[in-house]
Structures are given as structure tokens and as C-alpha cells.
């Protein structure tokens, strides 16, 4: 089971800055454990952001993104009280969706 994301969405004028902190191992698949075996890759591969149900951003991620990634983007036209939903899927099929209200 994955831990929740921290999402903050702050409106300024007609632009809303969304900041997302995700909890994920982001294992690159390049590292070896203490017994010399390769640690299998485990990373977020797809990220999707929705504003009131409408997809505003998608991203394809790979193993180069850091552990516990931080992502920031700007949505145009979101007003206070709107919902911003962010979801991710990783290469092992695990996923997580969290929602925040624009403030």
C-alpha cells in the first residue's frame, strides 16, 4: 500500500500553482543490494493531473526521477474551491490518487 501524497494548490490571479509531494521509493533498477543482486526497478511511470475532472497534465516518468519526488505545475483558470486531483501509476501496477482543493 502506498502512502498519501501531499498536494497544495494555491490560486493567484487566474493561475494556480500546484505543488505535489509523492511518497515513492523510485528504485532505478541500477542499484545492487548487499548480496550483490540487482534491486528491481520500481518507479512511477505515469502521472496525471485533473482539474474538476478534466485532464490538464499527463507525464511519463522514468527511473531517473528522485525518491519521494516533488512536482510543481501551473493550471490556468482554476478558481478557489476547485478540485485538483493527481494520480500516479508505477511500473508494478500500484497506483495512488489524491485530491486537493484550490485555496
Amino acid at each position: 500500500m502506498s502512502d498519501p501524497m501531499r498536494i497544495r494548490a494555491q490560486a493567484a490571479g487566474n493561475k494556480t500553482t500546484v505543488r505535489v509531494l509523492m511518497s515513492h521509493e523510485m528504485e532505478s533498477g541500477q542499484r545492487k543490494d548487499s548480496s550483490g543482486k540487482l534491486v528491481p526497478a520500481h518507479f512511477i511511470s505515469e502521472v496525471k493531473a485533473e482539474h474538476n475532472g478534466k485532464v490538464v497534465m499527463t507525464a511519463e516518468w522514468g527511473p531517473a526521477v528522485s525518491k519521494n519526488p516533488f512536482m510543481q505545475f501551473v493550471v490556468k483558470g482554476a478558481a478557489k474551491g476547485d478540485k485538483i486531483k493527481v494520480s500516479w501509476k508505477d511500473n508494478k501496477g500500484d497506483s495512488r490518487t489524491d485530491e486537493a482543493t484550490v485555496s
Partner: protein, 267 residues
Amino acid sequence: MKKLILGATALAASLAMTGAFAQKSAADGIAEYRALLADGNPAELYEAKGEDLWKKKRGPKNASLEQCDLGQGPGVVKGAFVSLPRYFADTKRVQDLESRLVTCMETLQGLNGAEIAKTPFGKGEMANVTALATWIAAESRGMKFNLSQSYAEEQVMYEVGKRLFFMRGGSHDFSCASCHGEDGKRIRLQDLPNLTKNPGNGIGFAAWPAYRVSNGQMWSMQLRLNDCYRQQRFPYPLFGSDATIALGTYMGVNAKGAESIAPAIKR
């Protein structure tokens, strides 16, 4: 719909690079780097986890930690961090935040405290102790350190901590004071706080638990001290040992009046 490939690390790297072109001291650069990262400090993830763990019914007794006495009365979290380590009458010893949490997990939840203390950092219940400590520290963010020295046991711990701080040993004949005994010392690029006095707001004892970006781990004070001892080539101190608590008391009392920024972010 735009397809973007965003990398949090790539973003941070490009920002750090622009900084490298301007002439400034290494300390300025590090301060800037920390400021950039502070906005998305992953310690927040551990805070959330810790808060959850505090309220969740767990263990053989199926109880939450909400009745845990951290020195400010049962269940009082705010202000606890800046007053620890302190003497607890029920256990008849001076305890720091982490060892106190283990006591509560044992008495309230029925978990095996000795077993937890033996667990390596970042694993199993020990990871939970660190998350709890992170949240409890965050609840006292911005408050000033004010450790009690009214019990004889607390005064003894301070004196013991002072002795340990200046005790040289190990293959390198190092003491804590070798690095942390005067102003202006550094290890690699990082400035080292002078821990024999109040090093200032949010420095030293007032900064841990902290998230370390370089290894992606949340580090508690106990782990911080263990790693100092590792670098001195001392034997590995036991979790929650009197030695580490004494050092915590020494640093905590010295830091009186310093503002806590824990959980901080570190390189």
C-alpha cells in the same frame, strides 16, 4: 493536452547550476539549495505518517498513542519536542523523544520495546518511531528550546553528556568536540555547528529529525548521533542508550532559546 516529461531532480539540478555561475561562498550555495528544497521537503510525508501512527489503534493492546505522556501531560504533543530530553518519574530515567516513544509503544500498545530498540533504523517499528518523532517535532516548529534542569538526574545527564562530548577515543582519537567544539569548522562543504553553546536558531539540535536528500532517508536524532560516532570510529551506540540521551541533554540544554525548525532538510 500537453505531454511533459518532468523530473524533480532534473529541475533541482538546473536551478543549482544557475547558482554556480554567480560568485558566492559554498555556505551561501548550500543555504540556497536548502531553501529550494524546503518547499517540497519530503519530511512532510513522514509527518503525515507519524500523525497517522499517533492516532491509530495498534499493537497487542489495540491502543493509540494519544495517552502518551511526553512530559507535558498525557496526549500533549505541542511543545514536547523543545523540552526533551527530560526526567520521567514513571520510568525513573531521563529520556529523549525517541526512547520515550518506545516506552509509550510498550506500555500503551503492548509492543516489545527491547525488540524495537534492536531494529535497524528505517526498518519495521523503528521506521515508525522515526515518523512519530518527525511529526512530534513538527508540532513544536518555531518554538524555543527550554530543557528542564530541575531534577538531579537531569543535571547528572548534562554533566555526563559534557564529559562524553569531550571524551577522545577510537582509532582516530576523536571526540565530538574535535569537530563541534569551536566556530567556523566544516566537514566537506558543510559548516559544523559549535555545540558547546547555543549554535543559533534551527542549527544543530534544533534541526533534527531531518530529511537527507543525498540518501532519501529521514534521520532522527538517535541516528544522527550514531552516525557521528560511526565517523569517529567509535563502537555503535545502542538505541536510546544513556550515552546518546546524555549527549542529547547536553546539546538541548546548551541550545536553550534556540528556535526549532525540525524537521529540517539536509543535503
